[in-house]
């Protein structure tokens, strides 16, 4: 299976690639885009700074391996630009792994045979949109991550690959809780790819009629969620 990590930076791409590139049968590309249309100087300064910030043993060797095998592709334009889409198509990837802070248009999504996977930090179909981790806590519903194939809408892609319930009880703030959920992405993408390669795999349906779109949470409610997280659950009750 040919897989491309669609990243906002080389460092972010390598982080995800490290988790999935030792999966048997998976061939990984790292794609770094330029959605903000930064100048070359700004862009490369940022790339180098992010690489330095995420430095850990072996990262340079891994980076060199991707460069040497032509599996690190740096796009000068955004992923939705026609020239980028043409390059994406030529890679003939089955799956894209979303790691860039962008919304995709349909031509970009369809450049991947199966589509682009997103690790959404809420449980679908109930929680679409923004601040869904906070809203789940406030409404007393299970929290976690859903890995699904995106479409051009906001978390409306129909094919769910996996859902993992991850309780909030060990996090004492909204910020820490969201960080913990975001950090699950590499592990869950790995699980999702394993599931997709299994012959018995079947998608679950993301039935949008069973959920709502949520929006950025106010400071007032975020403060309330912080308090809820600090108090934690009482065992054995709902």
């Amino acid at each position: 299976m040919r897989v491309a990590v669609i990243a906002g930076s080389i460092a972010a791409g390598l982080r995800l690639a490290t988790e999935v590139d030792n999966l048997p049968g998976v061939d990984v590309f790292v794609l770094s885009g330029n959605a903000e249309r930064r100048t070359s100087l700004l862009r490369w300064t940022r790339e180098l700074l992010l690489l330095a910030k995420s430095f850990r043993p072996g990262i340079l060797a891994r980076l060199w391996r991707y460069i040497r095998s032509h599996k690190l592709i740096v796009f000068t334009r955004s992923f939705d630009d026609p020239s980028s889409i043409s390059s994406l198509r030529s890679l003939q990837c089955e799956v894209g792994l979303h790691a860039a802070n962008i919304i995709y248009r349909e031509p970009t999504i369809s450049a991947f045979r199966l589509g682009i996977l997103n690790a959404h930090i809420g449980i679908l179909p109930k929680y679409r949109g923004r601040s869904v981790a906070e809203w789940s806590v406030l409404e007393g519903n299970p929290t976690g991550v859903t890995v699904f194939f995106i479409d051009a809408g906001i978390d409306t892609g129909e094919r769910v690959v996996l859902r993992e319930f991850i309780p909030s009880e060990r996090s004492k703030s909204v910020r820490a809780f969201k960080r913990m959920l975001f950090d699950c992405d590499a592990r869950l993408y790995r699980r999702a790819l394993q599931a997709l390669m299994s012959p018995e795999f079947q998608h679950a349906k993301n039935d949008t009629s069973k959920g709502q779109r949520y929006y950025v949470m106010s400071k007032l409610f975020t403060g309330a969620v912080d308090k809820i997280l600090r108090t934690g659950p009482r065992s054995g009750t709902r």
């Binding site: 976690g144 709502q212 929006y215 309330a224 659950p233």
Partner: protein, 235 residues
């Protein structure tokens, strides 16, 4: 972890309600002190006889009307016009409404989205002459679109410092607030929280529509007085 276990590990309802209630009460207390910064004396004066009632509602104890509407109502009629109804709702006064004999033709979302700001303003004031109808089941798509416009389009403009039509935003806030009052929808209430938290000078111009500004704050004050009964949807 399965769904059952995940549910068992969430914070119990009574504790969440207590924390949410405390947050709403603290914001209500803050609004009681701060509303005069949002509504200038000149603006208050321009409201005419309603000024003292607006002042009493915003400065006084918690007041909120519990609207007992028929479940799944189709459409409501009132003899008052849009501004009369809106003022009554904002001031927690009774409205003489009755079930309408005929509901208006459904408004398609795609048609609504194509309207200009002025057309949309006119349509909303006309269609929701009795603004309680924004909470009718048939209006769910439009109500969701208004919420989306506030929290995506308008919010993006405010955060980017781009100009926006404050009167249109105020109308949306009023209608979404009324929906929050009737449907006890936390997301709708939170959009009012968000716009209260945004520094007003960044989006409310000197010459905003004072009636809409005052009614928005009065509806918000009522919402903050409702400390329980908010809907928490379950999976």
């Amino acid at each position: 972890m399965d769904l059952e276990t995940a549910h068992s590990r969430s914070v119990p309802l009574e504790r969440r309600e207590a924390i949410l209630g405390a947050a709403l009460r603290s914001r209500r207390a803050k609004l009681r002190k701060s509303w005069r910064k949002l509504i200038s004396p000149g603006c208050l004066e321009s409201l005419g006889p309603a000024a003292s009632q607006v002042e009493a509602l915003l400065s006084g104890c918690n007041t909120a009307r519990d609207w007992l509407l028929p479940d799944q109502f189709t459409w409501l009629s009132s003899d008052e016009d849009f501004w009369g109804c809106l003022q009554a709702i904002a001031l927690a006064r009774k409205i003489e409404w009755r079930p309408a004999e005929v509901a208006p033709a459904p408004l398609s979302l795609s048609t609504f989205k194509k309207l200009t700001t002025a057309e949309s303003f006119q349509l909303l004031c006309g269609r929701y002459r009795c603004p309680l109808n924004i909470a009718a089941p048939s209006e769910l798509e439009i109500a969701e679109e208004l919420l989306c416009q506030l929290m995506v389009t308008d919010r993006a403009k405010i955060e980017a410092g781009r100009p926006l039509d404050a009167v249109a935003v105020l109308l949306r806030l009023n209608l979404v607030g009324i929906r929050a009052l009737l449907a006890r929808d936390l997301r709708s209430l939170d959009s009012l929280n968000y716009f209260y938290e945004v520094p007003q000078r960044s989006w409310v111009p000197e010459r905003a529509n004072f009636r809409l500004l005052a009614s928005w704050l009065c509806i918000y004050a009522q919402l903050l007085s409702l400390t329980n009964g908010w809907k928490c949807a379950s999976l």
